[in-house]
């Protein structure tokens, strides 16, 4: 966790981002309160809305973990999007190609996606620890490599769905087998098994990081690689492990997308959950639990965003709130300064009275 991070500041940043973005709506002649109410209804208003919110929150939790875990060791993984796509294509391939009984099939697809996403992240980790390539740059570059190789390569080439009729071309990969679909848990919603899995992963990782020797070593590497090295902790190894595990979470997010909602790798995965994970992780203090809490909030407003369309506001509006909140968290030095100033002003008034 960055030293200067305080949960109160993150909440203040989110509230301020809400006020700023909804306030801006007034400039376009929209009623901010009506829009806000619509967004809340869209996120929480019904069982199916709640299901959508939780599905999005689960994906964001996993992609935020992809940032938070490596960050424990001081690595900054911007590659969640690419790792997610690699996990998604692995899940789509396995879900179509394997022929196992249902529970085994799902377990195999999920672990395949974790391994594939993890391997893609490990590539950046290896470039950092052995070739000295800054992981921020390498993960950014690898995002685009993954995107192009998968969406302009595999999905339109070797893994493209083939139909019996040569004249009908189906976009995306072949539909996964029935057994590979994550079962829906609550009828009337799309809430699937992947959602509890994602939150269980977040809880488990939070415990591991906070309570085990291994987790302590990760945090020591992040606090001071020099000190960790002199204490006999294998620094490069811990970094690689954290990167692998984080990227594996992003890969799992890809699997949830394919096995839970899409049913195949679509021609183009347009939702930038991997990039959003960066924002969610930092707003959540780059810790596993904080990430999950932030993901619940942003998942809900993201789901609520679809309702805004009825008011003529683009459904990506919640992305703006998220971006502003990240900007405010990044510039928390400014917020902290303003708060300190307000407090001082109040103290001065109090002493005068």
């Amino acid at each position: 966790m960055p030293r200067s991070f305080r949960p109160g500041l993150a909440v203040a940043a989110v509230v301020l981002a809400l006020v700023l973005s909804f306030g801006a709506l007034a400039l376009f002649g929209k009623d901010p309160l009506e829009a806000f109410a619509a967004m809340v209804r869209g996120g929480f208003g019904s069982a199916s809305a709640l299901g959508e919110s939780l599905i999005k929150a689960a994906l964001l939790t996993l992609t935020a973990l992809a940032v938070a875990l490596p960050f424990c060791t001081g690595l900054f993984n911007i590659g969640g999007q690419g790792q997610m796509l690699v996990g998604a294509i692995a899940a789509a391939f396995l879900g179509h190609a394997l022929a196992l009984p249902a529970s085994l099939e799902i377990a195999a697809c999920l672990s395949g996606a974790v391994l594939a996403g993890g391997a893609w992240g490990l590539l950046a980790g290896w470039l950092q620890t052995s070739r000295g390539v800054h992981e921020v740059i390498s993960t950014i570059l690898l995002n685009w490599v993954a995107m192009h190789l998968i969406e302009n390569g595999l999905v339109v080439g070797p893994l493209a769905a083939r139909s019996a009729d040569a004249n009908v071309s189906l976009p995306g990969t072949a539909v996964i087998r029935e057994a590979a679909n994550l079962p829906v848990l609550i009828a009337g919603t799309r809430l699937h098994l992947g959602v509890p899995i994602a939150f269980a992963v977040a809880l488990a990782l939070a415990w591991v990081v906070a309570r085990t020797t291994w987790g302590f070593e990760l945090r020591t590497v992040g606090a001071s690689a020099e000190a960790a090295r002199s204490a006999g902790i294998p620094v490069a190894r811990r970094r690689l492990q954290a990167m692998w595990l984080g990227a594996g979470c992003a890969g799992l997010a890809g699997a949830l997308l394919v096995l839970g909602t899409e049913g195949r790798y679509p021609p183009h995965i347009s939702t930038p959950y991997g990039f959003d994970g960066i924002a969610v992780a930092f707003i959540g203090g780059s810790a596993p639990l904080g990430s999950a809490v932030a993901a619940l909030f942003f998942g809900a407003i993201r789901a609520g965003g679809t309702r805004l369309q009825l008011l003529g506001i683009h459904r990506d509006f919640p992305e703006l709130i998220q971006g502003l909140a990240l900007l405010l968290v990044a510039g928390r030095a400014v917020l902290g300064f303003l708060f300190a100033r307000l407090r001082r002003g109040r103290d001065v008034e109090a002493s005068r009275a």
């Binding site: 070739r131 800054h134 921020v136 685009w144 192009h148 595999l154 990039f275 924002a279 506001i313 990044a330």
Partner: protein, 306 residues
């Protein structure tokens, strides 16, 4: 064959400038010690502002100015948070991208009710007399102003960075900011200058997309070019001329990809599109040459700590 060369040369001159401007700006910015990951957002803001102002005033030149201004405005925010408040440059850059991406999407829909602006006046095409009649070389004629600017800006930036006192100072704050402060110069001011220049150039790059490549803004802009520019800067080893060369090379490779596929020859598209990033990675890893970032790149300068 001659037509093919002319076509590839012509389309490189059409599609490279937006990348060239942004990559040159990125090189200046990072040489001063500030990482700018907000290039994509700055290009987007520039492209949108340029189209809107060109529509409103009827003049693409005002649009160009607005694009530059919008990029610089976001860069000022980046500088203010990173230089004045020493915020994390990587996070601020990402936040700027997110804000610009979403804000412009929402604005386009509220203002124009769709995902693109109506057609504005594109920049006029400049026909170079004499050149237009020559074989092959005639591909150099008939491009908008920005294409010709893209030939001069990198040279200018290279000279400014390498041969002027200002350039020496910019390079010094990127390597040893403490030493520059000891001379009584303001590290902040120099870094602000570089960051603002980078924003202005990204904005110009964005404006090129909506005023020269197309005559309108659409919601997909700038198509990830901010990140290709970043890759170009790395492949060009953090020098303006190198960055511009890499940007031109990437644009050329893309023109070749599109050209060969329309000619019925199928290169693997995924691999071709991933090429800029793969080449930059190979360069960084030291498999092809070696690229080294400025020593103080990404580190906020704190005068209290030496």
């Amino acid at each position: 064959m001659r037509e093919a060369i002319e076509a590839v040369l012509g389309s490189t001159l059409e599609y490279a400038p937006s990348l060239v401007f942004t990559a040159v700006g990125a090189a200046l910015c990072e040489r001063s010690g500030v990482i700018n990951l907000g290039l994509e957002g700055m290009m987007r803001a520039g492209a949108f502002a340029a189209a809107v102002v060109a529509l409103a005033t009827g003049s693409p030149f005002w649009g160009l100015a607005a694009g530059i201004g919008a990029g610089a405005l976001l860069a000022w925010l980046h500088g203010w948070l990173c230089i004045r408040w020493r915020s994390d440059q990587v996070v601020v850059g990402i936040a700027i991208n997110l804000v610009a991406l979403a804000a412009v999407t929402v604005l386009v829909e509220s203002m124009f009710g769709g995902n693109s602006t109506p057609s504005a006046h594109a920049l006029p095409r400049i026909r170079i007399p004499g050149l237009a009649e020559l074989p092959v070389l005639r591909a150099l004629s008939g491009h908008p102003l920005t294409s010709y600017l893209a030939l001069f800006v990198p040279v200018l930036a290279q000279l400014a960075l390498g041969r002027t006192r200002w350039g020496l100072r910019i390079r010094a704050v990127g390597e040893q900011p403490g030493a520059v402060a000891t001379l009584g110069l303001s590290v902040s001011r120099l870094r602000y200058q570089a960051v603002l220049l980078s924003g202005a150039l990204s904005g110009l790059g964005g404006a090129t997309l909506s005023l020269a490549v197309l005559d309108a803004f659409n919601d997909l802009m700038p198509y990830g070019q901010g990140f290709i520019a970043l890759a170009a800067m790395i492949f060009g080893k953090w020098s303006p001329l190198g960055a511009a060369g890499a940007a031109a090379f990437f644009a050329f490779a893309d023109a070749l990809r599109i050209g060969t596929s329309t000619a019925g020859l199928h290169l693997p598209h995924g691999l071709m599109l991933a090429l800029p990033y793969l080449l930059s990675l190979a360069m960084l890893a030291g498999f092809v040459g070696k690229a080294v970032a400025p020593a103080a790149d990404g580190q906020p300068f704190d005068p209290e700590v030496r």
